[in-house]
Amino acid sequence: MRSRLLAAVAMAVLFAGAGMAQAVEPYLEFVRGLREQQYFDYAILYLDQIASKENTPPEIKQVIPYEKAMALQDSAKVARSPEKQLEQLDQALAFLEQFVKENPNHPIAADANSDRAGIILEKAKAEIQQLRSPSGPKKQLQASSRELIAKARQVYQTAFDQHEANFKKFPAFIDQQKDPDQFAARSKTEQSLMTASLNLAICTFEEAHSYEPTAAEYKQLLTKAADEFEKMHQKYRTQVGGLNARAWQGKCFEEMNEINKALGIYKEILDHPAETGVLSQLKTQTLYFKLICLNSKEKRDYRVVADLAEEWMKKHPNEQLTRMGLSIQYEQALAYEQMGNNPEILQMDKEAFWKKARTVAMNIQKFNSEHKDAALALTQRIQVKIGGNKEEKVNDFETAFSFARQAFLDAVETKKELEDSTKKGAVVPPEIISKLNANLANSYSDAVKYFELAFTLVKTAEDKKNLPQARYLYAHVNLSLKKYYEAAVLADFVARTTEKDNTLALDAAYLAMAAFGQAFNESKASNDQKGEDLKMIIRASNLIAERWPSSDKANDAYMMLGQMIAVQKKPAESAMWYGKVPESDPKFAQAQLAAGQAYWSAYIGAGRMIAAERPNPEQLAAWQKSAQDHLRVGIKKLTDTAPKEASPPDLIGGKMTLAQIIINQGQDAEALKLLEGDPHSVVKAVTVADEPSRPEAGMTSRRFAMETYKLIFRAYIGTQNLDKARETMKTLEKIAGHGGAEGGAEITELYISLGRLLKDELERLKSNGETERFEKLMTSFETFLNDMASRKDGQTFGSLSWIGETYFALGESVVATDAAKANGFYEKGGNAFNEIMTRATNDQNFVGAKQLSEVKLRLVKVGRLRKDFPPAETLMKEIVKENANNLKVQISAAEMYQDWGLSGQADAPKKLIVAIQGDTKVNGNIWGWSQIAKKLHKSPNFATDEYYKQTFLDAQYNSAFCRLRFAREQSAKDKQKHLEGCRTELVTTSAIVKDMPEEQYQRFNGLYRDVLTDLGQTASDLPRAVDVAVAPPVMEKKPVEEAPKTETKEGTEVKPDKPAEPPKIDMMTWIIFGACLVAGLGAIVWVLVKGKSKPKQKSFGGTTAAGPVSFSGIEAGAPLPAPTFVAPTAKPNPRPAAAPGAGATAGAATKPATRPATKPAAPAAPGAAAVPKPKPKPPSPPASK
């Protein structure tokens, strides 16, 4: 080869020298000769040489820029690096532009323009190619490729006009015999004209590719291109140019998935009898197009592809290495691979096909073509299938990355196949499914191996350029493999270190956010660690919000930030993020609703704060107003956009919350309009044709319907509409009464919860300083109750229960300020319950046995509240005798003795011991706090059931509290002994409950510090679980006891009675999510309306304070957990006993020192809490190859 080079140089020198001696020199012939021999450098060198010579003819000098462009263009075609290609094409373009500018009327100016346009179009195609890569700055590339295409079209048009003008210069008729040269010249011009025309249509065809295949423009442009090709075909149908246009028309159809139409066109061309010259080339190209169709999923005619390709190769042995030849071979290799994939053939046959595919692919990859990479990947796929050692050949980043990418794409494809195969209704044999699973595992394993290898092989600048894309894809692989931290770290790194304008960076940031979200969702770590995960999500979301504030994905990030920050108990900040979602975003309405929800949660939460920490009334009023404003905007937006007959869950939930707010402000009539009015009536949304058929979750669930009617009931009381209130009460009873076996208990619970709801509302108004509203509400209820109570007719168990409970609530709301008034209310409450007892005596059908026990318990409560303990004790003993193993009864008994012990009455301290230790002497065996705690701890459900843990903690707390108070009444020596016991009890509790929620811990800690102070020691903090060295806990000292048995309705003995299924959620989640959702009915309905585990409705899906984040355009690598909404059901929580002097009604937060035990996160009402889990879905992995 060196000698060839030398010969060429010598030739060049010879020619150069000869130039001096000869007048005429075949300049251009020599240049073209050098080009044909691929001595492009020398061709350019020679052109430079003659350009500088004085004696070079001017007509030659004139075309030198054009000739240089031709040499550069040819050189670019064989350049090995894309950069080099681009560089040479740019140079060629510059020379062509120079030429046409200097010689606009030169005979070859039209050709030069055609070449110019060709280069510009090639550049556009290169950019379109990059569009298929996930790393490309998509919008930018789309815009610039379209710009280039427009430019190419313009230049082609100029060329077309010039060719047309040239063509028109020829006479209409030329006798080929007489004037063959002119005839040939005209033919050539006509051919150029046709080519320009064809290229103009190709511009349209390529422009289609600058859009996503799913975009409307894609199809529109392909249709347009097909029309343009058709017009050309009609015009030149007897010429090859016309047929070529026809072939491209077929290609348009193929790309629009009209395969049969395309094949029909290809058949026309391939059936043409001529086999030579240009037509032969056209037929080759058409055959290639046809093979693509036959290899498609619609046709799967792999055998035909293989045979046709083979036949073509035999006929065209010299064209096998042409671009078309390699393309045809690539289709053949694909066909062989697919034939080998046939599950129904023998392994040896499979391998035979795969080997054929490998042989063909290895041949293709030796040469430069657009199929080189794909052929390499195909070879590797086959290697995996038939077993072979490919590692030895992978020594560079490019190859390793190519394998990795291919393996990843295979995995994506297999996963899709697997999903299709496992879809409902799909009939796929299990062995195929298991094979697909094996393939998927192999593909991921290969992907991991090659990505990791690729990262160790990064060397060149080109490698570094591709590194972010490799990392991004590897992040997807990790996500699919549920390695969320790895995925997040990779994606986050790409997001931070890649140019902001590159779409990849934003995609990566989004992926990082999603991966951290998944890690959070699936984490089983402790509270602290989950808190760390939360921080990561916030950080990743912040990155998007800061770097790409106006992107669509930023809106998802705002939603995520809103949700996560709400979890961090910063509702106002959370609402601020929700508020950033612009009106143009489809999630705007959801964001507004969530923002309103966040403000309302802040307002509700403030009512539970201690006075020192509570925001001032102005701030509270502002939150309440913001909550309303946002909710109103969200409701309006959804009302305007949703179909009138639909009941979008977000809208219904929003209306419920807003109704609660305005009821809170006394706007009961408006609330009723909101709940009952059309369109999108809440009442209609919760109504079912058949009560017993209510689902477990969602808007028509029993719980949600009850919450709706409770609000309506409350609003009717507010409007003093007694009849409507009673009617609503009946509806409520009807709904509650169909709660299956627990129906009766549900009704009791319903009225207890209604009373509690009122109490909460009154306490909130009081603690928020809304005295006027408080007084008004008190009066309103009192009037209503008095009226209700005075009616002798029409009373039911339910109405009397409600009257009793509501009087209790009123009493508890005023006991701190007006004990006499409270006592009056308690008495009236007791009267209502006594009325039930009387009616039950007279009418056996008036109330069931279980409900009667409940009534007795309420009468015990009357005694407690009125401090009339002896008769309460008598009644209590009666109840215990009948329900010895009923946990709720035992808790009530312990509470009663605790209240008695703290009452200051004679011998009261002794009752504290009964509260702690119980009383085995009385019939039925009263357990006391100690036994209650012990039995709960021994229960097999203790480790998994949150209700057991919470009740246990309350029992332990009350036990220690009673002991402390008892100790204070003892002599110094006994006091010491009891205080020590108390201390041990507290430390032991801390050791047992390792993940004690912070608020619970603070409660125990306060008591612990008091004990130390009483012991005369310096107060210090209660050791946390990790610090506690003491073991085993007190309860472990005794032999293992059986779990406590309690009576069920049927009378069989089972585990402790638990009125309803407690929330299946770990304590950590309670802590994290509890705060923003506690207590507020708005929050409750928000949760209930979203359903427990149903996926959101797509059209209205979005994030709410209590709902999961939904990401658009997504396919998660792994099955994602369903949104988790845990709405604890109503249950009798062990209520703490009242401290002397404080009364049982003082708010826990407002009187922490005198109120011994409260449960901050207690599910005090049905559906009192919900857990928003981020439901991050990563952006879909790039699917195109």
Binding site: K77, Q281, L321, T460, E462, Y485, K524, A525, Q529, E532
Partner: protein
């Protein structure tokens, strides 16, 4: 017709490119490959003679990599292994390449000697083996003496300084780093200052060290290499802060390095993330520390020594964040990938 010509032409070019196979030097500054015959080398540059035109001269500090015509496949693989931290295999391959090279030039012979000594030195540093450190320092000095006017000279002097520093021979290290500072390029002068600062850190002269690092960073021009060095200086400063238990301060610098520093400078990034992990760990922020170390494991695993250190720490931090399975995975990886590393040994203790 054009398509046919194009394809056949490409075959011809492929054939010719094999016959023209020559030495290729890749330039760091623009990633350009310069092919021809390496006709001269010195401490400062490499000269590549082309078939046509003026020879190319590439400054030694601008050399990304060299492909030697007569080096063969083993040599290429050896470079890859060395870059990937597979020192043992790299040494084997370099040795094979040395034995199988066909008519190697004097430059290639020296290159192979430098490569062998350098790789052994890196291995000794990663293993922390005192005997090996001493031995490899001697080997480096021997090859420097034999081929002092070679483009690998200054780099080898830097590696020698690292070996001496690892061995605790501060005076010798100082001498070596001072030689690095005599190189005619600013980035090497900066490197020298940074390295001298590191000696001061090892000597616990932290204030003086900080001054060196600051001076090094201040000397950076806008060139990419200088900028990379600037971040190296910042990183060294952060390390000094970590040594002084000023974790919060060090984190601020480290965040800057990882966010703004060159993302593809894997050694720089890997060290930054390890240091970040250390600082976070010291502050009890275990989950964040785990994620910092994880960066090294999945993004910069080719930095063998730092990778081993990250894996070692991951075995601890994953446990702390209640992910014992991950801890076990990290341990297994450390044991399998770096059976002889000092971190592996530390794990066993």
């Amino acid at each position: 017709m054009k398509r046919q010509t194009w394809a056949i032409a490409s075959v011809a070019l492929l054939a010719s490119s094999q016959l023209f196979a020559a030495d290729t030097v890749t330039r760091k500054s623009d990633g350009k490959k310069l092919s021809g015959v390496i006709s001269a080398v010195s401490k400062e540059e490499v000269t590549v003679k082309k078939a046509v035109g003026e020879p190319d001269k590439i400054a030694a500090n601008d050399i990304q990599g060299v492909e030697w015509d007569s080096g063969g496949a083993e040599l290429r693989l050896a470079y890859t292994d060395e870059a990937g931290g597979k020192y043992e295999t790299a040494i084997t391959r370099y040795t094979k390449a040395k034995e199988s090279a066909k008519n190697p030039s004097e430059f290639l012979k020296a290159e192979l000697e430098y490569a062998l000594a350098r790789t052994a030195a890196k291995q000794a540093i990663s293993e922390g083996d005192m005997t090996k450190l001493t031995k490899t320092a001697q080997a480096l000095q021997a090859v420097q003496k034999l081929s002092p006017d070679h483009f690998r000279y200054y780099d080898s002097m830097n590696v020698l300084g690292q070996v001496q520093l690892a061995a605790g021979d501060f005076a010798a290290a100082r001498t070596s780093y001072e030689v690095v500072g005599k190189a005619p390029w600013n980035d090497y002068k900066m490197l020298s200052r940074i390295s001298l600062g590191k000696i001061l850190v090892a000597e616990n002269k932290l204030d003086e060290a900080a001054k060196e690092f600051e001076a090094a960073a201040a000397a950076a021009t806008n060139s990419p290499t200088d900028q990379a060095r600037k971040y190296e200086a910042m990183l060294a400063g952060a390390r000094a802060l970590v040594n002084q238990s000023k974790f919060e301060e060090s984190l601020k610098i480290l965040e800057l390095v990882t966010d703004k520093g060159p993302a593809d400078e894997s050694a720089l990034q890997a060290e930054a993330y390890v240091l970040m992990g250390n600082a976070l760990q010291a502050l009890g922020r275990m989950k964040e520390a785990s994620l910092a170390y994880l960066h090294v494991d999945i993004l910069f695993a080719k930095e063998a020594s730092l990778h081993a250190e990250a894996l070692y720490n991951l075995t601890k931090t994953w446990k702390q964040v209640q992910l014992p399975d991950r801890s076990a995975e990290a341990e297994q990886k450390l044991v399998q990938t770096y059976p002889n590393s000092s971190w592996r040994k530390k794990l066993a203790k």
